[in-house]
Symmetry: D2
Subunit: 301 residues, 4 copies
């Protein structure tokens, strides 16, 4: 049944796997630790080998998940969350301290819960052109480029094709891909930020086999940054019904004709706005190593 579910968060894949393992919560090939970052709960899940990959249905690597008790409203809370994002990125070995980084905002700008990638790209401190045009003046900065390429239906291209071409031309040391995710638990929607060093398959889990964005396909490390903004409607129903012992629900009702349905909070517009700001600040702070989050704030507001 789990193959019908869209599970983007490694944290939830682990919970699901542990749940079905019953007796023991110990999964082979998976290591999990809990911590905090700037006072916010942080979970680290390492998928170590093939057994771990099978147990969680995800590629091996490190998945960090930070949880926000509630959506930040005040500036100080927004900066704190951004510091947490920066700290997660800095933990990963595959992000060097210098060299061009390309940040990609995946998703559809015109579909609110899917706009977190493009809106994060808008909120970044982009510097590559400044350094190229005025090298003396911007000597201290790291080159950062950004792109929100749009979805395949609008471009006729897979993001992977476009990025492969661009990586070849720009030669970045690392690519960061930001995307909206689906959560299994409604309480995680717009409250969870996942950072992973494993790359990403855009639009994965919904049956569209897209080209993966990862070290293998692009030739550079790919860090995935994701925020769940919806609960997949079919997953929600499967979960509810399974808990109640019912087995006959056909999730196809929510997935016919390419017409995906989702469950989302009423105030999704303003929540996506705030989260994109947090991600923009956090990613920029991690990349510009001499800048504090307050410095980045000054230059991007």
């Amino acid at each position: 049944m789990s193959s019908n579910r869209k599970i983007d968060l490694a944290l939830e894949a682990k919970e699901l796997a542990e749940g079905s393992a019953r007796q023991t919560t110990r999964l082979s090939g998976v290591r999990a630790e809990e911590d905090t970052v700037f006072g916010l709960p942080l979970t680290r899940v390492d998928i170590l080998d093939q057994r771990g990959e099978q147990a969680l249905g995800k590629p091996r690597g490190t998945y960090l998940t930070m949880e926000l008790p509630e959506l930040p409203q005040e500036r100080e809370e927004i900066l704190r969350a951004a510091r947490g994002v920066a700290a997660m990125l800095e933990t990963l070995d595959c992000l060097p301290q210098t060299g061009l980084v390309l940040v990609v905002g995946l998703g559809n700008r015109q579909v609110t819960p899917d706009a977190v990638g493009p809106k994060t790209a808008d909120a970044l401190l982009v510097t590559r052109h400044l350094i190229q045009n005025l090298p003396d003046q911007f000597a201290g900065l790291r080159p950062v480029a950004a792109l929100a390429p749009g979805v395949t239906g609008a471009t006729g291209m897979e993001s992977g094709e476009l990025l492969a071409a661009l990586v070849k031309r720009l030669n970045p040391v690392c690519l960061i891909a930001v995307d909206a995710l689906a959560a299994r638990r409604q309480e995680r929607v717009c409250r969870t930020i996942q950072v992973a060093d494993t790359g990403i398959v855009p639009g994965s889990g919904v049956g569209n086999a897209r080209m993966a964005l990862d070290q293998k396909t692009l030739g550079v490390p790919v860090i995935a940054v994701g925020v769940p903004t919806v609960v997949d409607a079919a997953t929600l129903c499967l979960d509810l019904l399974e808990e109640s012992g019912e087995k006959s629900f056909d999730p196809a009702i929510f997935r016919q004709e390419g017409a995906e349905w989702f469950v989302t909070p009423r105030t999704i517009d303003s929540q996506v706005h705030t989260l994109s700001r947090i991600l923009g600040l956090g990613i920029s702070t991690a990349l510009h190593v001499d800048f504090s989050v307050e410095d980045v704030e000054k230059w991007t507001s």
Copy 2:
């Protein structure tokens, strides 16, 4: 349990009542008929008396529901649906052929599934000011005014207060209130248009006791035009679980802290855009009795 459900469509209230009546599908005080309008399925539900009001949980009056087999894409389909909207409005006795009509777009412009009211207001052929300023030139037109007042959280006023003041000043012969609804069945979302002569309670069913907009509170007939753009998440879960025999689900999880959740299709933005266009064309055609839908199209595109 049904008091936990948000049932906006009279059609669905009838189905729910018939379902729980088991043996007999005949409800006292309710008359239902099926028909077509410009080839589209039309259901008419009349709530005749207090028994009918109790059975369906709605005030007495006439509820017309037109169903679209799919979201219109081509111009001809859009015009056909608009003709259907006009025909439903023309059926109601409370809409006179002449005299000022005030059309109100309820809901929140910044929340996509709630924006169908404001966007319909944008798409109307508004004429009152033209007739006042150039009476000779626009002699043949009926005066139409429009307003999208915004939600109480943004204005500090209930729509009912604002409209009571405005009706007193403008003296319209009729008020038409356009609002987004919730459907119980996902297949009705963005595919159903309900027109009723009973007025409306803005944001009803979710626990906010708002001032009703109806003949009693405003002193003029109030026609409600509604389109379901979401399934209420709690209603969906209650339905699924009840079918499976489970009773223990607490819908409060989706309604805590005023944070309503809903189930909506991925492409809600473009669907709301198309539906607002259909409603704008249909309402304008019903009001400007000498105009065809093509005439209205010319003046509002």
Copy 3:
């Protein structure tokens, strides 16, 4: 010739009148003073009598104008400008310390340089509904209501008609009307905030005789808050040509068919966004007398 010019700022009307007075810069019936507020230059122009009204082409009253050296980018600069707006409002005798205030955002949300009124309305701390529904919890707050009614072409009503009806119903102690203005000097665009106790004529100066919003028409004091976001193209050309001695330019070219033209900076979208935030913070701080601008910031971000 000056009747062809659109002069919204009292400061510029004074400059224009002084310029044509040649010999002496002293205008009868006009008093002007220069000051600073939170370090920002402030000009106060009082039109004292009929001679002053004729000299400047504006009704008698007090006009305060604060100038920003550049568009605020950093949070501290935004808060400082907001404090300046609050201080200007607090200077005016017609704004009592308690009692309901209605804030109206005039203009067209869909035309960027005209959206500063509606966007300011969005950015206010609106409280009337909170106090009505939970009087104990919000005892300390002053009731504030807000409305962005939309332009006459979209509603069929003049703002004055709508507001007259609303004032009668709500009985506010004061009305604050926020609107976009035109400046004569390009360097004042998006850098100047004018506050006046004289009321306002929406869309004035461009030949549409609208109903004034003032104490006489509405029965309550009306404070006008305005920001120039454009230079009227005809005014710009008249000025340039007059300086060069040319007299034959016909400004009608920019005003035919109701198709107003304007001169505006490329980045008007983000400038209007920032200015609306400043006005929303400043007006809210002036109204909620126990709140600092930081308090307001917390509740409206």
Copy 4:
């Protein structure tokens, strides 16, 4: 002085050159013809050699300009203008009848008069992915891809760099670049569509030396499609003052600090919307040679 002017339209460059030539209106190396297309005035300017290049300040090639008497409102007028766009494109030898075409929407989606490129990209019938995924079903269609890359300030890349990489990967037979232009005459704004086989320099004329997009830099033919949406404020003033004999105006006032100013009609938002629709329909009709403009309308509305 003309080097201070931003002259994007070949038609206006010709007028300016002819004007300053005084005696004779015949320019060496330039051929001009007038015609109509679907009843709309069409001017063809061919720059034949280096003398023509110098006279007009533009590279040699064919420039077609269609003029609309007024902004199309009704559907029939929109379709007629789109047919005109398609006819202009079909005139150019460098557009083959088959093979992948990449359409690029240049400009900034968030600045209304600059959004015509990105919005045209949104309005295209994009097919490359359909043909790749379901080759049998879409056998009759031509592959079309599209991209709105965003401006250099947001991406850190020049459009030319990105497109060079993409052209290398996708191997299109032709690239079509859509961009907003500046007109010298206010009556041409949003009323003129220029199609040229010469390629384009994004943001040219304002002092930013960008990498050209043309056959030489990209290795494939580049067709430029442009619509003037503004008058450059400095150009307008220079023209007005020159006519009046004044020479001392310094256009730098409108160009300081990278803060370009422009003159634009009040209703630019809706005009850009309509023009993008016309361009989207027209370009798609030219590319999908078996489709009429009505066929394209069905698939893109």
